[in-house]
């Protein structure tokens, strides 16, 4: 069993971007805010005038947890696994796992970079991994 994201009309561009190898954020043309998760209007100035722009892919670990007790049957055999919050350079925060880095090396504040993970044929998630200079 695999948990996969279900897009809706508002988030379809986000997941299409992922398929194209981009992490897209809504950017307000009026006030410049970049935000996530998607909303129909700019949360800061209420303008409807936004565009989807790719994030730089640079971020830092805001926090993380190592899940030892599975809360859904789909991950019963995956525990323990790590879930992180990553603050993007542009400001918004996203949920991610941290790839290419053992859990005991993950630290709050560490720089991470965007990558993509195909969790099943045709199902891709944006993910983060330790920045190149930190990987060993």
């Amino acid at each position: 069993m695999l948990i996969v994201p279900k897009a809706d009309a508002l988030t379809e561009p986000y997941w299409q971007g992922v398929k194209d190898g981009k992490l897209l954020l809504q950017n307000c043309r009026s006030c410049g805010l970049a935000w996530h998760p998607p909303t129909p209007i700019c949360p800061a100035c209420q303008a409807k005038n936004y565009e989807w722009r790719p994030a730089s892919g640079r971020g830092t670990v805001y926090s993380f947890t190592v899940v030892h007790h599975a809360a859904h049957v789909a991950v019963a055999r995956k525990v323990p696994y790590l879930v992180a919050l990553v603050t993007l350079e542009e400001g918004p925060r996203v949920v991610s796992n941290i790839l290419s880095c053992p859990a005991e090396r993950v630290q709050v504040g560490m720089p991470v970079t965007l990558t993509f993970q195909e969790i099943s044929p045709g199902v891709v998630l944006p993910q983060f991994e330790a920045a190149q200079n930190l990987r060993t």
């Binding site: 994201p5 809706d8 199902v123």
Partner: protein, 391 residues
Amino acid sequence: MYRKTAVVGIGQTEFSRDSGRTEWELALEAILAAAADAGIEPSEIDGIVRYAYDNVTQAMLARTLGSRDIRWYGEIPFGGIAQCGVVAQASAAIAAGIATTVVVYRSLNERSGVRYGRAERNIPSDGEFVHAATDRSPAGQFSGPYGLHVPGQVMALWARRYAYEAGITVEQLTEALGAVAVQQRNYANTNPAAMMRDRPLDRDAYLAGRMISAPLRLYDYCLESDGAAAMIITSAERARALRPDPVYVLAAQQSLYRHSEPITVYAADLTTFSGPGNIDKLYADARVRPQDISVAEFYDATSFAGMTCLETYGFAGHLTAWKHVLDKGIGPDSPVPVNTHGGHLSEGYIHGLNHLTEAVRQLRGIAANQVPGAEVALVGCHGSSSAIFGR
């Protein structure tokens, strides 16, 4: 709203792991007990405010309480943050003259029925591929595929960030959370209604608890419970006619702002849990200050959530509650005793309603762990909903 309404009745069922009864039956037991405690007939109830999470609807109560006419009914979403919202909305309806006698309640078979610590209630569990939908922060399309599924995992994310910003090690945070869990268990051990009344917990046993979602371990988490609790709220005038010891609502509020919906991971600062100014307004409305609070009952889905309420409500500075609980504690002799019934961690998980009934018992002077001379009680869920009561 100041002193315009009062709690005149409280009632509750046994709290257990398996009630063997329907939630409807549990709700009625608690509500009828609250009505009897208030000295009113159930048919006098003309207002209902419920948690949207509750499976017992207004219609089910209208059919069974003998009410002639329910003139005000409302419901509050988001689970536990309805805690004091039900008090705010009941009191507002009474103060506005729309209803006279309002019942608030929570009934749940949360252990034997749908368990909130499981994610199958939000993500299906049959099929090779199952969908995480909506943008809810655990179990939504942007979190579920990564394995972030339930509130207890989000609070672990909050907790690690808290330790980082407070400049303490995870081990130091664990010591503080352990102090909270052990003291709440101590309270439960002398509370006959507590599920954990016969189960002592000391620091070693706390530390030996298995890791659930690091850095939070077993005893940092609330219990899972079957049970119900209810309160009857009426006007201050009617309250004085009904009983000599009404518990007045000094202030009650709800709060919602960008990304403050419960269990968020997107708010700019995940170590601050209340909107700017809303706690100042709470105290101003209640005409008291934090140092006037005799006892506090904080919504504790986890030890971390309860502990950080000490900061939210002005008993400790930002990022210092860990030190407060280590140096001063939350016990009977501390500056502000917290969760004197044992809280969600050790009395039972009645979604915060049992914190309200405990506050009422404290102000009546009949609590199992009575704070001597308690005058003012605070109940709160991280600033999302809060109430202050007085004698």
